[in-house]
Symmetry: C2
Subunit: 132 residues, 2 copies
DNA sequence: CGTACTGTATTAACAGACTAGTACACTTTC
DNA sequence: GAAAGTGTACTAGTCTGTTAATACAGTACG
């Protein structure tokens, strides 16, 4: 199981790592129940801080993809393949939207803004329309 | 022309203001060529810093929605209604995606991450698939 | 012209996200 | 039960985005 991240890629390292793990599960390189690399080992291999690996693992745990056992290690959750598949589908949904918007001439900033607007709308009551 | 913003809404004030202006143009409350409120006047009315209004106006100018004339004022661009309509359509695209993802159980963080992943993919070469 | 109004530019204060450093607590193995 | 290995918790530094404070430059109008 070889991971690789790019600290100067613009996107956060912990996020890149999360994607890598999900991808590995999707293609079957990581199986349910299997143990993941330990924090320090992976951190050393990627030449990053162990806390960055922790961040990735912890968020993956929150998504139900991995399971952290204190003192024992990090393991691929039993439901991981299913969740990873859902995650992949979600990715497709967003990819379609972003592609359409990008094709319409919107830049990164504008796309990010649209997302924030929609999230804010959800956070509020969500009245779908634009007439308060 | 009455605008209103909420400084503790979570989303940036200048962004809220941009939406308001676009909305006003979409519904015809602001017509092409019409003069917008001056920086200081609007800032005073909304009880925010003039620079925040500047930020909104300047970005709207970058999107071709408004036109800033040094010493004269801010005006609704001739192409504004058309651009505002495109902007509205883009909003619908993103709204659909976000709604679907939200319905699938994803929270704000996860949705934001998906966007960043997709933007990063665009920024790179965009190979659509997941197999580099 | 000159006054009062416009937008412009530069700098700083503040908050949040990301990463790093260091010490702690639990499991496994012998 | 002790040592080595695991994840956990807390703190601090750095960077970026947002807002604010203040001084500058152009335009309109008498």
């Amino acid at each position: 199981m070889i991971f690789h991240v790019n600290p100067s890629s613009g996107s956060p390292i912990y996020l890149q790592l999360m994607e890598q793990v999900k991808h590995a599960i999707e293609i079957g390189a990581l199986l349910a129940g299997e143990q993941l690399p330990t924090l320090r080992k992976l951190a050393e291999e990627l030449v990053i801080n162990p806390n960055t690996v922790v961040r990735a693992y912890r968020e993956l745990e929150h998504e139900g993809i991995v399971e952290l056992r204190h003192g024992a290690g990090a393991f691929v959750s039993e439901s991981a393949p299913n969740r990873a598949k859902i995650s992949l589908k979600a990715q497709t949904v967003m990819q379609t939207a972003v592609d359409r918007l990008s094709a319409a001439g919107l830049n990164e900033k504008e796309i990010r803004r649209l997302v924030e607007s929609e999230l804010a709308r959800l956070r509020a009551g969500d009245m779908t329309g634009r007439n308060a």
